[in-house]
């Protein structure tokens, strides 16, 4: 499973590292076996894919992903404290009263996923999704904490913190989800305009290329067609050169540019 996760996205390495560290304390052979099996599956698979794609697999993974924002980890690592303060407080509270939780495998998983999130978040496009695995690990730690409540007093305090968290979350989630839904609703007219324009154009020009328009690309996808060009903004010049080449060679019928989906003729 952890090998498959690595082949979903190469940043999913926290779980195998945490497993090895957790077993290293008592069962060194098991830790080494897990590490070795994972390395064979993940890195062997990576080598195979590199060979199959003639080196393009790793080229793609690092393209436009170069670390550049070295202050971003500070922002990323403090986000759980500001977006789930009462949950984090409850866990800190547990850690204080139950020292053995600190060495629990789930704590190691939290630490590893937080380090991975910190390191990978230095790329400019990083967002909240970099903290997903950390929250998964935190949830696992919460299970252990809840299952080992030592005193009744702690249960009451936890109840109070849970209530604060639930109230906070209702407001927090409603606010962000309402904002997201509003954005989607505001986007629909642009998508529908692009769809009607493409419906006409696709009859005579089945091989279309869209450049610089999300709504246009979205509309093209809705007709079951892929856009053959989608490079990051940093490579805009290369995109234009490729479009020019394709137009000259006649491998595409038309390039549509910008949100108005105007024809692009190579200038």
């Amino acid at each position: 499973m952890m090998v498959l996760a690595f082949h979903v996205k190469v940043t999913f390495v926290a779980a195998p590292i945490a497993c090895c560290l957790a077993f290293w304390q008592n069962q060194r052979h098991r830790a080494m076996a897990i590490g070795l099996l994972w390395a064979v599956g993940a890195l062997g698979g990576l080598a195979l894919l590199q060979w199959w794609t003639k080196g393009a697999y790793l080229f793609q993974a690092q393209l436009a992903n170069t670390p550049s924002l070295w202050t971003k980890p500070i922002d990323m690592l403090t986000r759980p404290l500001t977006s789930s303060p009462f949950w984090m407080l409850a866990l800190l509270f547990f850690h204080r009263s139950q020292r053995k939780l600190l060495s629990a495998p789930e704590s190691l998983y939290c630490l590893c996923s937080l380090i991975v999130a910190g390191v990978t978040s230095t790329n400019p496009g990083s967002s909240w999704n970099y903290l997903m695995e950390f929250y998964g690990a935190i949830a696992l730690l919460t299970v252990r904490a809840l299952n080992s409540l030592p005193t009744k007093e702690l249960t009451w305090q936890l109840g109070a913190l849970l209530l604060c968290h639930a109230l906070f979350s209702l407001l927090h989630t409603s606010y962000f989800m309402a904002k997201d839904v509003q954005k989607v609703i505001a986007y629909v007219p642009a998508y529908q305009r692009a769809r009607s324009r493409l419906a006409v154009l696709l009859r005579d020009h089945p091989r279309l290329l869209i450049f610089g328009s999300s709504a246009g690309m979205d509309a093209l996808l809705s007709f079951g067609k892929a856009n053959l060009l989608d490079l990051p903004d940093e490579l805009a010049e290369r995109s234009q050169a490729l479009m020019r080449q394709a137009l000259q060679a006649g491998s595409i019928d038309m390039v549509l540019f910008g949100d108005d989906l105007k024809p692009w003729h190579g200038r």
């Binding site: 952890m2 498959l4 996760a5 082949h7 979903v8 996205k9 190469v10 940043t11 999913f12 195998p16 945490a18 794609t53 393009a56 993974a61 690092q62 393209l63 436009a64 992903n65 986000r79 789930s84 949950w87 495998p105 909240w128 999704n129 970099y130 997903m132 695995e133 929250y135 998964g136 949830a139 696992l140 299970v143 252990r144 809840l146 299952n147 009451w156 109840g159 109070a160 849970l162 209530l163 639930a166 109230l167 209702l170 989630t173 409603s174 962000f176 989800m177 997201d180 989607v184 986007y187 629909v188 690309m217 079951g224 892929a226 053959l228 060009l229 989608d230 490079l231 490729l242 491998s251």
Partner: protein, 161 residues
């Protein structure tokens, strides 16, 4: 207020908290189902991922040096994209991706229930942890999208437990 009254109040707190978190989870699931039904993107990165899935479906290997068409940026592994490209009831370009992410979120919940059951034989702790997980911003905002992350989290956690 007597000690007995305070105890009763705090026990009530727990029940109210769980009730509110169930309400929260229902709200999140409603938005997720609404998003699943949308035939267009609900978050910008979805377009890039859906385009990669469409390329897989058209028989292209979406890994290249961006020196000829198709020239796309694909920083992800093949597992999610390839799974989504299989024709299992595609209603719109984002359907498979979003459905797979929601199924991965359910798998994550199952991990928490399993983890709790392994430790105490009861799933109560796992249920509370699942409700808590749904309150995390990365999960409620990204857990249902046509993006690779939720599947990666679910597989990692499944491997860990």
């Amino acid at each position: 207020m007597s000690l007995r009254q305070s105890v009763a109040l705090l026990k009530g707190c727990q029940k109210i908290a769980i009730g509110l978190m169930v309400l929260h989870a229902i709200g999140v699931l409603v938005v997720w189902v609404w998003a699943l039904s949308r035939p267009h993107m609900v978050e910008p990165i979805e377009i890039r991922v859906a385009n990669l899935i469409a390329l897989w479906r058209e028989g292209y290997l979406p890994y290249g040096f961006a020196d000829r068409l198709p020239a796309v940026w694909n920083p992800y592994g093949f597992v999610y994209e390839w799974l989504c490209s299989l024709r299992w009831g595609t209603l719109h370009p984002y359907w498979n991706g979003r459905l797979l992410s929601i199924m991965a979120a359910m798998l994550t919940a199952l991990c928490l229930l399993l983890w709790s059951h392994q430790q105490t034989g009861s799933i109560k702790g796992g249920v509370v942890a699942t409700l808590l997980l749904l309150t995390a911003k990365p999960i409620f905002a990204f857990g249902h999208l046509c993006r690779v992350d939720m599947l990666g989290v679910a597989l990692s956690m499944l491997g860990f437990v």
